[in-house]
């Protein structure tokens, strides 16, 4: 099937103006906002002030964008350690929204938004949709999960502000998704790419088409070019990658334009750097390293030099779409052992703490990830030890259920626990291979 391009000329949205700012203007804007953000963070957030003072760096010392390199990094554990409100730079009365994502030990990471923050979030989502060629006449089916996860409500508010018809269908119930897609003349869908593949397979099984669908906006997990080609070939839609993380704002940090050759970052709001993950050194454009983001306009929870753990590179070359905001290469892997399943970030250490909580000791375990018909499945194989081997089936089954329950409680997703014989799980020198990812991407 051929894909019809219908890009910017048909759908220029006023909100997209900053995407096209001349570089010099953009940089002046960034510097002003950066100075204001750093001052705000320094004055109102203990963690930032202490760290900057320890390095003898004050907000006044930021005179060029390059001076950002003098500031310390922020990492995920900083959010965990200050749970829940320690990084807030606004009083609670000004906070109008809270979201949460899973953290490393069962306590989630809490993020907050003022009214102005929500407006920024909505505007970058409008810009994301506009870059994909969507406009007010579109019918958007939002199958991202709604709730504490920033994906659902983020995409929703953006599509609504764009003026489109929004169907907040959230996740699950595949047959109903397909029915709605057909019957409401849906033109764009937002969901994880693996869920969309699942929809494609179900549609094939049921021998139904994709109606008026022309665009898919897929994110919350890494996905490859070959998956994109598969999706586009099967459905004739244009599949765009969207990037974001709740620590920064949610979805809407970056989006692929019609060129589908890298994601434009909305760098008037999120300033990017690429660093060497070992040394922390800032790398030049084009070099691959860890993406570090600094928010330029967030009030409730400004983030300074947040290490995303995502590996990519920055590209300032002009894009055929005309956007001047730089692109990052699509993100294929991470710099730590976190993996993503069904849109949820999981650290093996979370599984460990759940196992520990049930057993009191940590048995050998391995996480096996598979994909069946587009749906990710997570199985945790746990070796049976003499301590918890019981003579009774009932007791072992109850143990299995308890382990499943504990892991589900920590992660918030359904998992299967498989009891295996001792010494059957691979060991290696040093770190055992905790995660066996059998999903083909």
């Amino acid at each position: 099937m051929t894909t019809q391009w219908n890009d910017a000329p048909g759908g220029f949205h006023p909100a997209s103006a900053p995407d096209f700012l001349p570089r010099a203007q953009l940089q002046a804007l960034q510097l002003g906002r950066l100075q204001a953000t750093v001052r705000r963070a320094f004055e109102r957030v203990k963690l930032y002030r202490e760290r900057m003072e320890a390095r003898n760096v004050l907000p006044e010392d930021l005179r060029t964008l390059a001076d950002l390199g003098r500031l310390p990094f922020t990492v995920k554990t900083d959010l965990r350690d200050t749970y829940p409100f320690g990084l807030f730079a606004s009083p609670m009365e000004e906070v109008v929204r809270l979201h949460a994502s899973s953290g490393t030990t069962g306590k989630p990471i809490v993020v907050a938004y003022t009214d102005a923050d929500l407006q920024v979030w909505t505007s970058v989502m409008i810009r994301s949709f506009a870059a994909c060629g969507l406009h007010r006449g579109d019918v958007v089916q939002n199958a991202y999960g709604y709730g504490l996860f920033t994906g659902g409500l983020g995409a929703h508010y953006g599509a609504e502000a764009l003026g489109a018809t929004v169907i907040p269908i959230s996740g699950g119930n595949t047959d109903r998704q397909l029915m709605v897609l057909q019957d409401f003349g849906v033109t764009a869908i937002c969901c994880t790419p693996s869920y969309f593949v699942h929809l494609v397979e179900r549609a094939k099984e049921a021998k139904i088409g994709f109606g008026k669908l022309k665009v898919g906006i897929f994110g919350a997990e890494p996905w490859s070019e070959s998956m994109r080609h598969h999706i586009q070939a099967e459905t004739g839609i244009r599949a765009h990658d969207i990037y974001g993380l709740s620590e920064i704002i949610g979805p809407g940090v970056g989006i692929e334009c019609f060129r589908q050759d890298g994601l434009h970052l909305f760098e008037d709001h999120f300033y990017p750097e690429i660093i060497d993950p070992q040394t922390g050194q800032v790398l030049p454009d084009g070099a691959e390293g860890e993406l570090v983001l600094t928010t330029l306009s967030k009030q409730a929870m400004p983030m300074l030099r947040y290490r995303t753990r995502d590996i990519t590179s920055l590209h300032p070359e002009p894009c055929a779409c005309g956007r001047t905001v730089r692109r990052i290469r699509r993100i294929g892997r991470r710099s730590d052992d976190m993996f993503i399943i069904r849109g949820v970030n999981v650290f093996p250490s979370q599984v460990e703490s759940a196992l520990l909580a049930v057993e009191g000791t940590l048995p050998h375990y391995q996480i096996v990830l598979t994909r069946e018909k587009g749906l990710d499945e997570m199985e945790v194989q746990v070796e049976v030890t003499p301590e918890f081997f019981s003579d009774q089936i009932r007791a072992l089954e109850a143990l299995q259920k308890r382990l499943e329950g504990a892991i589900e409680h920590t992660l918030g997703i359904r998992v299967k626990v498989h009891l295996v014989e001792p010494r059957t799980l691979a060991r290696s020198e040093g770190k055992a291979k905790r995660v066996l990812d059998k999903r083909s991407i």
Binding site: V384, L396, L419, E421, R423
Partner: protein
Amino acid sequence: MKIRQLSLFLENRPGQLRIPCKVLGDAGIDILTMSLADTQQFGILRLIVKDSERAKKALEAAGCVVNATDVLALDVPDRPGGLASTLEAFEKAGLGIEYMYAFAASRERGKFATLVFRLEDPDRAARLLGEHGVKLVSSKELFERAGV
């Protein structure tokens, strides 16, 4: 009157059952009777052998996870209704049965069959069953009958 039984955890994979049997065979240990209880995911193999301590060591050395439990053995009339009448005694004594299985070597075909029972409190069960006139079979007798 209690009999030592060993139980092993086995995954439901082809060939898993063979391993403990081979280990015991190599160690020259005779399996008097065994029973396999299973779920979709795993199974529990229950064995009665003459030298349970030696068997346990051998199996553990081979990497198996082994438990030792005390069970009771009873002679049950080898005729239709024989089991029911025995179970009536359990009921009268107020005893719940965790599980049971048949013993491979019976005393006399057509006369008696031997069954193994796991109960929550085997000592109390042994006493109560005795009071109800149920005859328990000792390990010594079991091994004699089996000719080991």
